[in-house]
């Protein structure tokens, strides 16, 4: 038998990692992201009776995104300064046992650098890129989550990728 099918937990909880990843990239810090996810899940529970049963992930992410945007607006209102990219980059991962520690360090640095670059993109470009490349959503799904027309999604992705490429080139330079 299929347990729990149709319950809110069955619909929403499989997407908790995706929810957290999006919140983390929008908010910039783990604490704020966790707050956003918790609030978003409660909101989603409230909206659940009107959920139409299509694409749970996009539905959950849309609510997370709205919650995060509200939190960001509040933060701007309170004049809080967003954390610098270095502060919110994750700690370098420990080296794999038996691996060359130098190579592991280089990998960790590269990851930190890439996370930093992604973190500096304007928020609407960053979310498009995170949803496309890390969550592997389709244009239509990204359009739903960000409540933007598909043409806008396409041009945001385009700009995000160009900016990332330009920043990467600059970082490689002398």
């Amino acid at each position: 038998m299929m347990p729990e099918s149709g319950s809110f937990a069955a619909v929403a909880l499989p997407h908790l990692d995706a929810a957290y990843n999006l919140a983390r990239w929008l908010m910039g810090s783990a604490d704020e992201a966790e707050d956003v996810v918790q609030e978003a899940m409660l909101r989603a529970l409230t909206y659940f009776p009107s959920y139409r049963g299509v694409n749970a992930r996009a539905w959950v992410l849309q609510i997370v995104r709205n919650t995060a945007m509200a939190a960001l607006r509040m933060r701007r209102g309170l004049n809080l300064v967003p954390l610098a990219a270095e502060d919110c980059a994750p700690a370098p991962e420990p080296a794999d046992s038996g691996d060359d520690p130098e190579a592991a360090l280089i990998r960790a640095r590269a990851r930190q650098q890439l996370d930093g670059l992604l973190g500096t993109l304007p928020v609407e470009l960053r979310e498009a890129l995170v949803l496309r490349e890390l969550e592997e959503l389709s244009y239509r799904e990204i359009a739903q989550v960000t409540e933007a027309p598909i043409g806008t999604v396409m041009s945001r992705l385009w700009r995000a990728r160009r900016m990332l490429a330009a920043a990467a080139r600059q970082g490689d330079g002398p």
Binding site: A19, A56, E136, Y139
Partner: protein, 246 residues
């Protein structure tokens, strides 16, 4: 300088074009230096991001906190939906156990079929073997099966839900010719095998073999087997949406 097809190149790269458009654009890229360069940049950016950027995962503490808050919210209205709340609590604690019980209960004859279904899926993933009819349109796929099968498989479109229909093919399973409907989700392929079975209706049961997840159920006189390397919960979601679709 960018070619005016730059955004289309991006759409092709993101797998958003249908086969005909993608073929036209691939031909265009052959002769267009800026578009070829753009493609390489897109591929480099994707490789860097997917290999290098962090996909943050919810911490166990966050997961527990969310579950606890949902349980508390559900407990706030026990009179409204007591049965549902009970089932939710059960599913949190025992979801995995229930599935395990189902698996143990699967008869050994079933296990042979599971192996056959998974083997078939793996074979179909080899280049050029995936589908006999390529179409994202259920009204093309459905007639294609007519005349090739002695039954009409239920062909449903789930693109809106993130599981586009990619086509179909014929396969040989359980001693008969069966329909295989091919869906995708992101980079993952889902085969849905269908053939007539007069056995009683059964609820979906899941199992796994060689890293592939398998969900089997029977309804409307058909045996259905969904196979994919998708995570079990995602495959389960696919099955749920598919069954919901009229």
């Amino acid at each position: 300088m960018d070619c005016d097809k730059a955004l289309l190149v991006q759409a092709e790269f993101d797998g958003e074009l249908d086969a005909a458009e993608a073929a036209r654009l691939a031909a265009h890229r052959e002769g267009c230096v800026p578009c070829r360069r753009r493609w390489r940049e897109l591929a480099a950016a994707r490789a860097a991001l997917r290999g290098g950027a962090t996909r943050h995962a919810a911490s166990p503490a966050l997961r527990r906190a969310v579950e606890a808050r949902l349980a508390a919210a559900a407990a706030d209205r026990p009179r409204r939906r007591p049965i549902r709340w009970w089932r939710e609590a059960l599913s949190f604690a025992a979801g995995a156990a229930l599935v395990a019980v189902t698996l143990v209960a699967m008869p050994s004859g079933r296990q042979n079929l599971v192996a056959a279904v998974v083997d078939d899926h793996i074979r179909a993933l080899q280049p050029g073997h995936l589908r006999d009819v390529v179409s994202t349109d259920q009204h093309t796929v459905k007639p294609w099966f007519d005349g090739r099968l002695d039954f009409a498989p239920p062909v449903k479109e789930l693109a809106q839900a993130g599981f586009p229909l990619e086509g179909g093919r014929l396969d040989y399973l359980a001693g008969r010719t069966v329909a295989a409907l091919v869906y995708t989700h992101g980079k993952h392929t889902i085969d849905l095998f269908v053939w007539p079975d007069r056995g009683a209706t059964t609820a979906p049961a899941s199992t796994a073999r060689n890293g592939y997840n398998v969900i089997h159920w029977r309804e409307h006189g058909m045996a259905l087997w969904a196979v994919s390397d998708l995570e079990r919960d995602q495959l389960r979601e696919f099955v749920r949406l598919w069954r919901q679709m009229p």
